[in-house]
């Protein structure tokens, strides 16, 4: 409530414990409602006092203890007065308000004596000046339903935020004993019941690298085609439909495709290459879509200016369109990285392996896999630890989960931050 409104508001407390003392305890403290009514009553000339006339709002609260004026009171009864009304009397309702504050106070006092108004401790009486544009009951009902709706919707949104925080907190708490630099840099030992996660971690990076090598060029060029070359015809619509459907194909079907196409038909066997190819096909639609959006954000005028200088279509794309959209394209590629890092199903049968002995130290520990071998991967390692290894320590499993989730979230955060910064620096 603003200062001006407060000046026009008067809070009056009625408190029995000042009984016996007929005078005001404080400026707004009265021993009974009768005295309060008298204080705001008519002056000798039968008119409302200047103070009473300036009031817009009178709140009357009943207290048990006169020291307790800060405690909130709920306005249980609402009455209105309006100096503009024609009639002399009223009943204090919104439709038929009292003509002024003294009459209103007298009315309230009368009703209090009748027992029509029986506020308990903690409840109050509110007397308001009726505004011409005051909220009607209908309006108030609308506002109430609006605030209920808003609250409910906010609750739904929060129901999505809360689990993320709870899950992250829980995993981090359980994994805390295992997390250390050694955990990241040592290989699994003793049938995977001890040691760290170096081998699967490197395997995941290898998978990401190779799948990126395949998916990024194809995806970016496909995005370029769809935004720069394609006309609005049936072929383009078919491509769009294919992209949407490629994104919607279940990951396990991608796995079956990987087995059918790469492992069996292309004779790659279960290997890093086969798994990377499968991941590449799976993440292609993400790159295509984001590249296309990034390219579409470059204003058409840039291209037209370049064409007018005599540049060909490809020259325009190479020198104008791609440099201006590289940030958006990179964001898409980074998101692909995050997705590829977390996927398990597509690599299950195309190249992931339960355990592989790799070098612990030296250069060989950084390049432990050849393209035609199976690899360990972080996501599959988590699955194995939880479901296949019987006596894996809990902290080890939680630690793996936290590293995996941390990796994915870190990559995602990079994409989000990059996008935010680049969006704010946009030249057009």
């Amino acid at each position: 409530m603003s200062e001006a409104a407060l000046a026009n508001t008067r809070r009056i407390f009625i408190c029995n414990d000042s009984q016996g003392k007929p005078h005001l305890v404080g400026p707004d403290m009265f021993p009974s409602l009768e005295l309060a009514a008298a204080a705001l009553g008519h002056d000798a000339g039968g008119k409302a006092s200047a103070l009473a006339q300036s009031l817009k709002r009178v709140e009357i609260a009943f207290l048990e203890d006169s020291g307790n004026t800060a405690s909130p009171t709920k306005p249980k009864y609402r009455f209105y007065y309006d100096t503009q009304t024609m009639g002399s009397d009223g009943d204090g309702t919104e439709r038929d308000p009292w003509p002024d504050v003294p009459t209103a106070m007298a009315g309230i006092e009368r009703m209090y004596r009748d027992g029509t108004v029986k506020p308990r401790v903690g409840e109050g009486i509110l007397l308001e000046r009726r505004e011409i544009f005051t909220a009607t009951n209908h309006e108030r009902r609308k506002q109430r339903s609006e605030s209920i709706a808003k609250f409910g919707l906010m609750l739904m949104a929060l129901m999505l935020v809360a689990p993320v925080l709870a899950i992250l907190g829980y995993l981090l708490y359980e994994a805390w004993p295992a997390l250390s630099w050694e955990f990241l840099t040592t290989n699994p030992r003793d049938a995977m019941t001890a040691g760290g996660i170096w081998a699967p971690l490197v395997g995941t990076f290898f998978l990401i690298f190779f799948s990126l090598l395949i998916a990024a060029p194809i995806g970016v060029l496909a995005g370029v085609y769809l935004n720069e070359y394609a006309h609005d015809n049936w072929l383009t619509r078919l491509i769009n439909l294919a992209v949407v459907n490629l994104a919607g194909v279940p990951s396990i079907v991608h796995a079956l495709f990987g087995v059918g196409a790469f492992v069996v038909a292309a004779r790659m066997g279960q290997s890093l290459v086969a798994a990377s190819c499968t991941l590449a096909v799976m993440t292609l639609p993400v790159i295509i879509t984001s590249t296309r959006e990034a390219l579409a954000a470059v204003p058409q005028a840039f291209r037209e200016a370049c064409w007018n200088m005599g540049a060909s279509r490809w020259q325009t794309i190479r020198t104008i369109v791609l440099p201006n959209s590289i940030s958006g394209i990179l964001t898409g590629v980074i998101l692909q990285v995050a997705r590829a890092a977390g996927e398990t199903a597509p690599i299950l049968f195309t190249g992931a392996t339960l355990y592989m002995r790799v070098a612990d130290t030296g250069l060989a520990s950084y390049f432990p896999y050849t393209p035609w071998e199976k690899v360990m991967a972080l996501s599959y390692h988590l699955y194995v630890l939880k479901t296949q290894v019987n006596n894996a320590p809990e902290a080890l499993t939680y630690g793996t989960a936290v590293v995996l989730i941390g990796l994915v979230l870190a990559v995602n955060s990079i994409a989000i931050v990059a996008r935010t910064i680049l969006r704010s620096r946009k030249k057009w």
Partner: protein, 324 residues
């Protein structure tokens, strides 16, 4: 003569540079069509890959199709691929499992997802909006294997406790249809929120302004104006959520309890089509009947999700059409 020579030399060098330029020109003439060809080819690759997925999955399943008992396949709940006497391949129980967790998760995810989409799109602005959107993006980024892990280690014990305390019927385990539905709901909500929000954003502001001018409150605008105007986009959001729930693999593999039966209650364990492939393909003998049937399930899954995505696409195209 001398003058000719003098003139000739610069001419010669100029001719040389011109020939270099010509060479570059020729190179550019060759490069440009080559690059454009590569771009066109990559552009068409999406179609190629969709066809390739269908082709290669179907190719592995094909040899079993001769004399295959499709009636048993779709109507029998007996999934006994390892039986020595007579292996039976009935996927009814698996279909029921997929159906149960999909319906269960959508009952939770659709109202919450659409509610959150409305809240983000219509009721909040500025920093709060950004924070909510980023959090939901992060929700989408959590890998499915981690969701499965959470379902097993965190949600499972909680559900078991609830079941024991309130005496719900069902086997004494925390991995069941309800667990998978809850996890799947959290997994498919982000897609519903982001597509739903896009659909609401696509409704022109003039609609909102007109409704405001008529005295509507914001909630009235939402359910009287925005929902009817954006219904196709919202439908697409729901369908994409359904597609995601049907296709999800690792999380349901870990959370459903892995029992081949038609689930009758929330606390019954079940098994889905996707989980069956993930669990059994590694053990199935390559080229054997079991292996081929698993690929056939893959074809079924592919067809179902293709249909759902197609419907979603048609729904989205619907709003674009009505905007024009």
């Amino acid at each position: 003569m001398a003058s000719e020579l003098n003139v000739g030399e610069p001419q010669g060098s100029r001719r040389k540079s011109a020939s270099l330029g010509q060479f570059m020109q020729v190179l550019a003439d060759i490069t440009e069509p080559t690059v454009e060809l590569a771009i066109r080819f990559c552009g068409w690759s999406a179609i190629l890959f969709v066809l390739a997925i269908f082709f290669f999955v179907f190719r592995e399943a094909f040899p079993i199709l001769r004399g295959f008992d499709f009636h048993e396949f779709f109507t029998s709940a007996k999934w006994r691929p390892d039986s020595q006497i007579r292996p039976t391949y009935g996927i009814l129980a698996l279909l029921a499992g997929t159906g149960a967790v999909t319906v269960g998760s959508m009952l939770l995810a659709v109202p919450i997802g659409l509610g959150a989409a409305v809240y983000i799109s219509e009721f909040c602005t500025g920093r709060r909006k950004e924070v909510l959107k980023i959090t939901i993006e992060l929700l989408a980024a959590i890998p499915s294997i981690v969701w499965g892990f959470i379902g097993v280690v965190a949600l499972g014990p909680v559900l078991l406790y609830i079941k024991e305390t309130f005496g719900f019927a069902g086997p004494p385990m925390g991995l069941n249809v309800l667990n998978a539905s809850l996890i799947l709901a959290l997994m498919s909500v982000p897609v519903i929120v982001s597509v739903g929000e896009d659909a609401l954003k696509a409704v022109p502001d003039s609609y909102r302004e007109a409704a405001l001018a008529l005295g509507a409150s914001r909630w009235e605008i939402v359910y009287r104006v925005l929902f009817p105007a954006a219904k196709n986009g919202l439908l697409a959001a729901v369908l994409l959520g359904v597609g995601r729930a049907i296709g999800e693999t690792m999380a349901v593999l870990m959370c459903t309890g892995h029992a081949v039966q038609i689930p009758k209650r929330l606390f019954d364990p079940a098994r889905t089509l996707t989980a069956t492939i993930a669990a059994e393909l590694g053990e199935a003998e390559s080229g054997g009947n079991h292996y081929r049937v698993l690929f056939l399930i893959g074809v079924v899954l592919f067809a179902v999700t293709f249909l759902v995505n197609l419907l979603a696409d048609v729904a989205v195209k619907g709003i674009r059409g009505s905007d024009k």
